[in-house]
């Protein structure tokens, strides 16, 4: 097998979102993944140094550096599993579905490379129940690779339940281990996840596609995009009040409005929901904020999952937020009191606020609930809901004042521009 440097293609433009391809097409376009022919320390060191130099963070929401996660998994001892997180429980996100449908081999290559680097013997791909078209694409790709040099670690496909928190990495690992899809209370996130007694390294599909690309191109091609402190490209799903919703690959640091415009908003947006349902609203004064972790944090948001939702001038941001928290409340794993009781209570407060049914105690009560629920779950599910509501109260502050004075929102009963699985069933992208 040729070494990585010999297969390095001319990559002026680093892109993970390629054209749909079977194994032959994939290899013709990108060359094979630079896997070691046998267990080799030199190969491992060179792969790890590429990953480190790229600065690739996980693209599943938390943004934890991929190289550190690999080091933790490697430290847990070999023969474990690389878990491909294709759960994408965020209703407004399509990027991982799209990658697994179009270029499953790129994602699988990333998992194989990490498996080789941490001594894992298995690659387990998780696609939720009901998403059969994605599962079929993955299964088909696996059958093309089985028994070839592309798949030294054994690849299998599993189908966890289709729920929002099922994709949280500790819940996913636990489901594989024991069939219970529940997040674990992990005060120390530096402890490796385990399936049985062996280590598990979990990455979402997009992160693995980047791993597979960086291993081929080297870190420079990745770092030629984006910002020094937040490099590379990322996938963003744009939806809401737009002409063409869909997934785009953008450089980190691209202004929010420039991303939204790729989908052609119907009218001048009133606000953008950035980072998904556990993300945050951003108002017009911050539309030029770069899509990057630090800049988004400065305006009370986070990059989160790659999602931008456009809210038109004829929608009520408070009512849309109430709907989201109501949805998130229903998606709780039901383990932690503050999430089980707090999220429905907060959703109810928000709905009252949007309808102008505000009593004197409501704002103080809502404020206290947000403060008390935040950070008190085993996973960060409730924290996302709190961040969303806090941003709504800030961005739609003028509406809050009006409704608090007893005037319900004129748009409160308009149909939602958001997507909720319970309303839509299981749809494709």
């Amino acid at each position: 097998m040729v070494s990585a440097s010999e297969t390095l293609p001319e990559t002026k433009r680093y892109r993970i979102l390629g054209t749909p391809s079977d194994l032959a097409g994939h290899v013709a376009a990108l060359g094979p993944a630079p896997l070691p022919t046998r267990s080799s320390r030199t190969w491992r060191e060179s792969f790890v140094s590429r990953l480190e130099a790229s600065g690739l963070p996980g693209r599943g929401g938390a943004g934890f550096p991929a190289a550190i996660k690999l080091a933790v998994a490697h430290g847990a001892g070999g023969r474990g599993t690389v878990v491909v997180n294709g759960m994408e429980g965020e209703p407004a996100s399509d990027k991982d579905k799209l990658l697994l449908l179009r270029t499953p081999h790129l994602v699988l290559d990333g998992a194989q490379l990490l498996a080789a680097a941490c001594g894992a013997r298995r690659v387990t791909v998780c696609v939720p129940e009901g998403r059969d078209h994605v599962a079929a694409a993955v299964a088909n790709a696996m059958s093309e690779r089985a028994g070839t040099t592309h798949a030294p670690a054994n690849e299998t496909l599993v189908r966890p339940p289709d729920r929002f928190v099922a994709g949280e990495e500790s819940a996913l690992v636990r489901w594989i281990d024991s069939g219970a899809s529940l997040p674990a209370f992990r005060p120390d996130k530096g402890m490796p996840l385990r399936i049985g007694r062996q280590g598990a390294l979990v990455h979402n599909a997009e992160t693995l596609a980047h791993v597979a690309m960086i291993a081929r191109t080297g870190p420079e091609a990745f770092r030629a995009h984006g910002l020094v402190e937040d490099p590379g490209t990322c996938l963003v799903t744009i939806s809401g009040a737009v002409e063409n919703h869909g997934v785009v690959e953008v450089d980190r640091g691209t202004p929010l409005m420039a991303i939204a415009q790729r989908a052609t908003p119907h009218l001048a947006p009133k606000a953008l929901l950035v980072g998904g349902y556990g993300g945050a609203w951003v108002g017009p004064e911050d539309f030029e904020t770069p899509y990057a972790s630090l800049s988004l944090r400065a305006v009370g948001s986070s990059a989160g999952v790659g999602v931008v939702i456009v809210l038109g001038p004829d929608s009520c941001g408070l009512m849309e937020s109430a709907r989201i928290v109501h949805y998130l409340a229903g998606q709780s794993a039901g383990q932690c009191g503050p999430c089980v009781y707090g999220l429905p209570a907060i959703a109810d407060d928000m709905a009252r606020l949007a309808r102008g049914r505000v009593d004197v105690a409501l704002m103080a009560r809502l404020d206290r609930r947000l403060h008390e629920v935040n950070g008190r779950g085993a996973c960060r599910h409730p924290d996302g809901a709190v961040q969303l509501v806090r941003s709504a109260l800030k961005v739609f502050a003028a509406d809050v004042r009006e409704h608090a004075a007893g005037a319900p929102c004129a748009h409160a009963d308009r149909p939602t521009v958001l997507r909720f699985p319970s309303l839509l069933g299981t749809g494709g992208s």
């Binding site: 005060p187 932690c336 008190r376």
Partner: protein
């Protein structure tokens, strides 16, 4: 430095801890304990150990704060 950590999955809102240790544990409106994560004053450590022992759900642990953040 010792601090109180509540396992939110194990906790079932019995509320004994807040009765034993009101200086460090309060309850939210649904009866679940709130701790602020700050170090426990030395004179409270013994009673905190008792609260941890007496919790019917074994949801309380006392953790030594490590040097790293």
């Amino acid at each position: 430095m010792i601090r109180v950590v509540i396992d939110p999955v194990a906790c079932d809102a019995y509320g004994f801890c807040a009765e034993l240790l009101p200086e460090a544990i309060t309850l939210d409106e649904w009866g679940y304990p709130i701790v602020d994560g700050s170090p426990l004053p030395a004179e409270l450590v013994e009673v905190a150990r008792r609260a941890a022992r007496d919790c019917p759900r074994r949801a309380i642990t006392l953790r030594e704060r490590k040097a790293r953040g």
